[in-house]
Symmetry: C2
Subunit: 243 residues, 2 copies
């Protein structure tokens, strides 16, 4: 099968080592909260991360993102206060005392410890009111900014830089604190810095919060909840052998 795929597009597919490098980034990327080091990120490295984000797909080539780099300790402190306030609310929401207890022990952000905080935004009016591909789903521009986040996240992993996405905020308060205009949505608040190490597994998995789901259970064929592929399809057995 391996050779079959290579034969298809010898000039378009990457060679094995290149492809493995991409998969290495995808599999070893982590949401970093607690292992940040204060070392500054050199400007050329930071430039590569931002370029990677800027080359994300965007609906109608809208490129709706901005990149607000926050290094000011005062602003980080204010953002951290917003997190603490929302996090206290969050803890009370879980259904059982056990979940609330476990939740309170989790470290969920590195706002103060990471040398750079980065807000990736979406300007809903970047390309006028009518945007190719957004005509029937107004959220597509937000999704473009999310793709920029993921590009940056993978690029950072390859640079040895950790990224953590903090989402426990009252978004309107965050938007006000950052003085964002009405049409600009703060899509992702990222903590960025070199790290002492990357965990081998997602922290919520290691903490016993949730397991990784078996991928084969998540794949359907032609019809929702149809887990039976057409005859001759070996996809599910391949998925089962590579969890």
């Amino acid at each position: 099968m391996e050779n079959q795929s290579i034969t298809h597009q010898p000039e378009l597919a990457f060679d094995d080592s290149e492809r493995n490098a991409l998969y290495k980034a995808i599999y070893s990327r982590r949401d970093v909260r607690g292992q940040f080091k204060p070392d500054p990120i050199p400007d050329d490295v930071l430039a590569r991360l931002l370029q990677a984000a800027h080359h994300a797909p965007s609906v109608g080539f809208m490129q709706p993102w901005n990149f607000l780099l926050i290094r000011s300790p005062e602003i980080k402190q204010q953002v951290h206060q917003l997190f603490l306030s929302a996090n206290r609310e969050a803890e009370t929401m879980f259904e059982t005392p056990e979940k609330r207890q476990l939740y309170s022990t989790l470290k969920l952000e590195g706002i103060l410890e990471s040398p750079i905080n980065l807000v990736i935004t979406c300007d809903r009016e970047r390309a006028g009111p009518v945007v190719i591909g957004r005509t029937h789903d107004m959220a597509m521009d937000i999704y473009s900014s999310v793709c920029a986040v993921q590009n940056l996240w993978l690029a950072a992993r390859s640079e040895g830089v950790g990224v953590g996405w903090v989402s426990i905020f009252d978004r309107m308060k965050l938007k006000k604190l950052l003085n964002l205009p009405a049409q600009v949505t703060p899509v992702a608040y990222l903590c960025i810095g070199y790290v002492a190490h990357f965990f081998a597994e997602p922290e919520l998995k290691s903490a016993g919060w949730r397991d990784r789901l078996p991928l084969k259970d998540l794949v359907y064929f032609d019809h929702w909840e149809n887990s039976h592929p057409e005859e001759g399809c070996t996809l599910l057995s391949v998925l089962e052998s590579t969890p």
Copy 2:
């Protein structure tokens, strides 16, 4: 600067060739609409694409996605009809006759030509009502599914496989056609297949619809619209020299 970054984390950063491979995927990925070949995608290649998607970050390790693979010509035809109907509406929305004319010439999907259509969904109830990190922003699970799309998109590029995201649908009609349960959102409708070639540039750029924005104009420092970094920061000049 190069050596400075390598020195930081010799064991955590990828080596140059690995890092370059990731950037190659990020820079050469395209939204494919018109160059699909009918060649089937081998199951081991398809498995790698789905594994890449499944290893995306997800809020609260929720893994809210399913992967609905569509190969049935009948279902593709029905989806294509939905596209045609929405696309006729879309064309009338543009402000000027010139834009409407240009829009009508653009090929915006490869639903029928691509051997596989893939719907990546988000099950809003995958992990119960209260999810770590989703307590204050209910859209975070949707963003997780978008990250899965971007992982798959990059992996596909490295395999020589093209991906196109079709968003010009009435989403409720698409959801009904695919029989998705109420709590499941169809986040992305993807056309997937080997391609005759990948374009060097985004098609909307080549078509003169929009240019790539200069990245340095999109970066702010500490405060919204502040384009002046602290003394000694060379980021903007680095960005300017690598457009």
